[in-house]
């Protein structure tokens, strides 16, 4: 809760300074208010759209071998952790998102509050993809020790690709189209851009499709990885 507030504070200060120092009225055709709103929302959405704790737990379970107790349950490892992960995110997002929601109601920064439910829906759809990525990474724990650094690398990469650092439309072409069309932009850039008026309904719909395509590719890949890992695991008899 405190973390995104601090992050948002620093980012808002940064954009204020950029506008003050540059003397320009708009950057990339959007005004100052748009950036401030983006910086505020992005800090909170980024927090929701990333997975540290549950990925860490999945890896621990595999590392320590306590995964066996989960495997014995009548629910798959994937589903077991997906339900926990989403449940946790529902609660935390309800609490933490009230902060920017109320703030933006009072301060006159550009936000379309009616778009909030649709934006949140996209984020939760995206979380299924996030979980699938985490599941794939956890599967590597069957093959290697000490893979927590993999979580670190992935989350820093997503930090960039989601658009927490800056609105992705500032990136020069051709990278810009690439990064925006990747499903990871649905973590921050698309929902926040949609909320703050940078993007329209069509962009949101495209993002749903992009996440769905991402899942279509990643789901079979991750389950293959998991099965291969389990085979290797039981092979060593650990």
């Amino acid at each position: 809760m405190i973390q995104p507030i601090l992050t948002a504070g620093i980012e808002v200060a940064l954009w204020t300074a950029i506008f003050a120092g540059s003397g320009q009225a708009t950057i990339g055709s959007y005004p100052r208010e748009s950036y401030l709103a983006y910086a505020l929302w992005a800090a909170f959405f980024a927090r929701i759209s990333s997975n540290w704790m549950y990925e860490f737990r999945m890896i621990e379970e595999i590392d320590t071998g306590s995964v066996n107790s989960v495997l014995a349950r009548p629910i798959s490892f994937y589903e077991y952790y997906l339900s926990q992960f989403l449940g946790y995110k529902v609660i935390t997002s309800l609490i933490s998102l009230t902060v920017p929601f109320i703030l933006t109601l009072f301060i006159g920064v550009s936000t379309y509050h009616s778009r909030f439910p649709a934006a949140l829906l996209l984020v939760f759809f995206y979380l299924v993809l996030v979980h699938t990525v985490s599941f794939s990474i956890a599967s590597f724990a069957f093959f290697f020790n000490r893979i927590h650094s993999l979580t670190m690398a992935k989350n820093i990469a997503l930090w960039l690709l989601m658009g927490e650092l800056f609105p992705l439309d500032l990136i020069p072409e051709p990278y810009r189209s690439w990064v925006i069309h990747l499903p990871f932009s649905s973590g921050v850039y698309i929902p926040v851009g949609y909320l703050t008026g940078r993007l329209g309904h069509a962009d949101l719909l495209k993002a749903f499709v992009s996440v769905a395509l991402g899942l279509l590719v990643l789901a079979p890949a991750s389950s293959a990885l998991w099965l291969a890992g389990r085979k290797r695991y039981s092979g060593t008899g650990a």
Partner: protein, 262 residues
């Protein structure tokens, strides 16, 4: 002094042997930091492609700034990432007891015993990037200014060390390490942007109370041709002061620990 250099070399050797055990880990550490560098670089590259200059910084000088930050950061990671980030952990597991029974300064042992040797690769990369950023300036100042880094980088490290040490040792006393580490990280982040971006009051703070401005802003400004020589003196003085404060603080924490632990 010679003895301590000798011990430091011993730590380096032992750490290297330990690190080479986990090859994937080496690769991941290097790759993770490269991704982190890319993220930081992209912020400035993207912003300055849309804005000509901010508070006196343009794309070229911002590159030098970020490169200076990376150099300091990569050396920091080599020396202290393992040692100071996990200081309170180690104390809780009782490793301090064994350190205290050694005839060597315990703060020295605690601060340097486990070096993260994979970051040597990163140091080469960041120094390379700094050279490139410096010499691709439209009007590069004379090259001898880079030599000032031989003094300025150790000063940055000493100042950062003092601040970080304070936070780590505070975690020892207050026992809630995660939150304290988080606050530290937020301070560090303040140092990851040129100080000129901040409003005057905040700029004053990052150069005095929480001197993260010395992390990269001051060194970058000086090598970019600024003649604020006072800052060199300030950096040296502050560096020495911060390290001195850290030794006092360690003595205090130790006394407390020795009186409280079982």
């Amino acid at each position: 002094m010679r003895k301590y250099m000798n011990i430091l070399y011993g730590f380096f050797k032992a750490s290297a042997i330990a690190d080479l055990e986990y090859r994937l880990n080496i690769v991941m550490k290097v790759v993770t930091d490269i991704i982190w560098y890319l993220a930081q670089v992209s912020v400035f590259e993207v912003i300055f492609r849309n804005v000509d200059q901010v508070g006196g910084w343009n794309l070229h000088s911002a590159r030098v700034f970020i490169a200076a930050l990376f150099v300091v950061d990569s050396i920091w990671m080599l020396l202290f990432s393992e040692n100071l980030d996990r200081l309170s952990d180690k104390v809780r597991r009782g490793e301090l007891d064994l350190l205290l029974s050694k005839p060597v300064n315990s703060q020295f042992m605690m601060s340097f015993q486990r070096l993260s040797t994979p970051y040597l690769i990163n140091i080469l990369i960041t120094i390379g990037y700094l050279n490139w950023a410096f010499f691709s300036l439209p009007e590069p100042p004379s090259g001898w200014r880079l030599l000032m880094l031989i003094v300025l980088v150790p000063c940055s490290l000493m100042i950062t060390y003092g601040m970080r040490f304070f936070f780590s040792a505070a975690a020892l006393i207050f026992a809630r390490a995660e939150n304290i580490n988080y606050i530290w990280w937020q301070f560090y982040r303040l140092g990851m942007r040129p100080d000129a971006l901040y409003p005057p009051w905040l700029r004053y703070i990052v150069l005095t109370v929480i001197p993260v401005g010395f992390l990269a802003s001051v060194p970058a400004r000086l090598i970019l041709g600024s003649n604020e020589w006072g800052f060199i003196v300030a950096a040296i003085g502050l560096g020495a002061f911060m390290v001195w404060v850290s030794t006092r603080f360690w003595a205090f924490a130790l006394k407390r620990y020795s009186s409280a632990s079982s």
